[in-house]
Amino acid sequence: MSMLEIRDASKVYRTGTFGGELKLVLRRVSFNIDRGEVVSLIGQSGSGKSTLGKIILRLSPLSAGSVNFEGTDISTWAKGQLRDYYRHVQGVFQDPFSSYNPLYKADRVFEMVRSVYFPNLHGRQWHDKIESALESVALNPGDVLNKFPHQLSGGQQQRLLIARALLLEVKLLVADEIISMLDASTRVDVLNLLVDLKRKGLGILFITHDLSLGNYISDKSVILREGAIVEMGETQKVFGNPQHSYTQSLLTAVPQLHRRWAGAGESVPAGVPAAVAVNGSGGALGQAHVANVPVDDDVFRDGEARRYSKSSLYPPRSSGPHEPAHDAKRAGSGPGPRPSLMDIPDQPWQRRFGLAAPKLGAILAADGTQALVECEPGHFVAVEDEL
């Protein structure tokens, strides 16, 4: 049993006037994180990676599926029970400055933790604890204590937040794009720190859009696209031998120092056919340069999640939506089933006038998200369809 198991996590948002449209942001995402393992969750904007991070941190509710921490499904826990959860699972976010309340000093973040989790620790003991946490993140206490957030650099701010997490007995750290707003020269230090912590047993969910970062530090990588996993597995296998066309197109689009886009042969990942067109020789605008690799025809398309309206899914009048096999999986999912969109039956009059929202189960069934196939040990790919 892994430390964190995510099973069929799905999330819907209501949009449109009167909430008639449903926006599917996460589609049956499943993967695990073990102790001392860094898992990269890689995706472009709109892929749902940050949403998943917030769901794991219980800052956002899950619509369907489960998040199991050490065997228990925490997605149904009430707010009161979360205090214990937060002892083991913490998060650091993208904008270091925004994580601090600008009116208070930076080390207030420590004080917030103390008042809830260590109410009996005072003075010297607490100070020692802080100092040892700061040392583990390579910060000099004299440099960062008693200062306001804007007096610290971005790198110091992020490390302070990691130190805060280390004050608790944290087992899993959700790092949501924590270095994307830092300078290139400070990014590496924070990255190296994460690897250091990993070696001491901390599990890390490293959410990023930058493939080279994911490649640098993670053991496993999960590539997310529009809320669904397209490829996942051991990092070296996923990056070295990408099977899904989306992964391949991402890899060829990453700007590298020593390789041109549409790299002419050298250091092109295996499996991607060598492509044409060197720099500046005038290619089709708006199209990725790589020949023979199927790419989305509109490279500029926003990562918009699938949208469903009731008219498209919900057959008026005749049979209601059939409950998919998905339901059967949920049937045995532990005590206290949470009422979800799938459980609440529609009133006949709602169906008559088409007022009921499409069921989540129906949406997922119609969604056509493919299951993952193991193409080699430790390397899973989604079967490609006409996405």
Binding site: D183, A184, S185, I217, L250, L257, R260
Partner: protein, 333 residues
């Protein structure tokens, strides 16, 4: 026809004094050249790039001249610069997809913009339509409001509008920074395409991302703490940098295929100096592993190899300047 910047100094007024954001910068760009302006936050690259188009209220032009195509650009004079904006100098801002007025239709907005620059919209309309077609947008974009288009389409539209009057100089301020990897590539290639087709003569691409510059720029200018550190062709910068800052910066960039276990990267310790009271001498001195006594004196920005300019005493020690006194600067290692 080119850009020539001579000893430009720009400062920000603050309550505590003047922040010398751009402190004596001189360089030139030839026709058809895409120059990347690289550096980390606080180095002054954004200030430099933006000052060539629009000097914000807080920015103060202290001294120096800017010459575009032989004509002096009056960057300190807002009204006088109006004649040049969009026609001679243009800018593609960061978040270009949000740069369009949401309450005007795109065609109307462009017409107003073009008219305000003294050009006739009817003459330009044909070309506008052609370029819209070129970037892969449908013709009825002109009749749409910005919110009817997707982010990528807005990005392309903004770039077309910015270059509509064929400016000599286009400044891209962190154009690729907020984008997904695939969009970033498409934008980068579009910039090159514009240059290839002659829509713009030369370009300054401002970014902190050296890997993107390695793809699209012909030359790269690295700035540090308001001053120029190094300028050379992009291949040279990437393969044979001379300035320690450039070397360390390149050494801290992760690449696909590199893993921590095999090759751990190191960053640059310390922080850039405050520009309110910049230190004397070389500004990188505190963080430089090669610093020695001579660095207490500010190094000049000289050409050490053909087409390769550096401001560093150590680099000068190792390579005699191209056309100047012999290398015996009296430096002790």
């Amino acid at each position: 026809m080119s850009l020539k910047v001579d000893n430009l100094r720009i400062a920000y007024r603050t309550l505590r004094g003047d922040v010398r954001a751009v402190d004596g910068v001189s360089f030139s760009i030839a026709d058809g050249e895409i120059m990347g302006l690289a550096g980390e936050s606080g180095c002054g690259k954004s200030t430099l790039g933006n000052s060539l188009v629009f000097l914000e209220g807080r920015m103060n032009h202290v001294s120096g001249t800017v010459e575009l195509d032989g004509v002096n650009l009056p960057i300190a004079d807002y009204k006088a610069m109006n004649r040049h904006r969009l026609r001679d100098v243009s800018v593609v801002p960061q978040y270009a997809m949000s740069a369009l007025n949401p309450t005007r239709k795109i065609g109307r907005m462009t017409a107003d913009l073009v008219k305000s620059r003294g050009a006739d919209y009817r003459n330009v309309l044909e070309e506008f339509k052609r370029r819209i077609d070129l970037v892969g947008l449908p013709q009825n974009v002109l009749n749409m409001y910005p919110f009817e288009l997707s982010g990528g389409m807005r990005q392309r539209t903004t770039m077309v509008i910015s270059t509509l009057l064929n400016p000599s100089l286009l400044i891209g301020d962190e154009v690729t920074s907020a984008l997904d990897v695939t969009t970033q590539r498409a934008v980068g290639e579009m910039l090159m395409e514009f240059r290839d087709r002659g829509f713009v003569k030369s370009m300054i691409v401002i970014t902190h991302d050296l890997s993107v510059l390695a793809q699209i720029a012909d030359t790269i200018l690295v700035m540090y703490a308001g001053k120029l550190a190094e300028k050379a062709s992009s291949n040279t910068i990437v393969d044979r940098p001379l300035h320690p800052y450039t070397q360390l910066l390149l050494g801290s960039l992760p690449e696909v295929g590199l893993r921590y276990d095999e090759a751990p990267l190191t960053g640059i310790p310390g922080r850039p100096p405050s520009l309110l009271n910049p230190p004397t001498g070389c500004r990188f001195r505190d963080r430089c592993p090669f610093a020695f006594d001579k660095c207490a004196e500010e190094p000049p920005f000289v050409e050490l190899r053909p087409g390769h300019e550096v401001a560093c005493w150590k680099a000068m020690e190792d390579n005699a300047p191209v056309n100047s006194e012999p290398a015996s600067q009296g430096a002790e290692p």
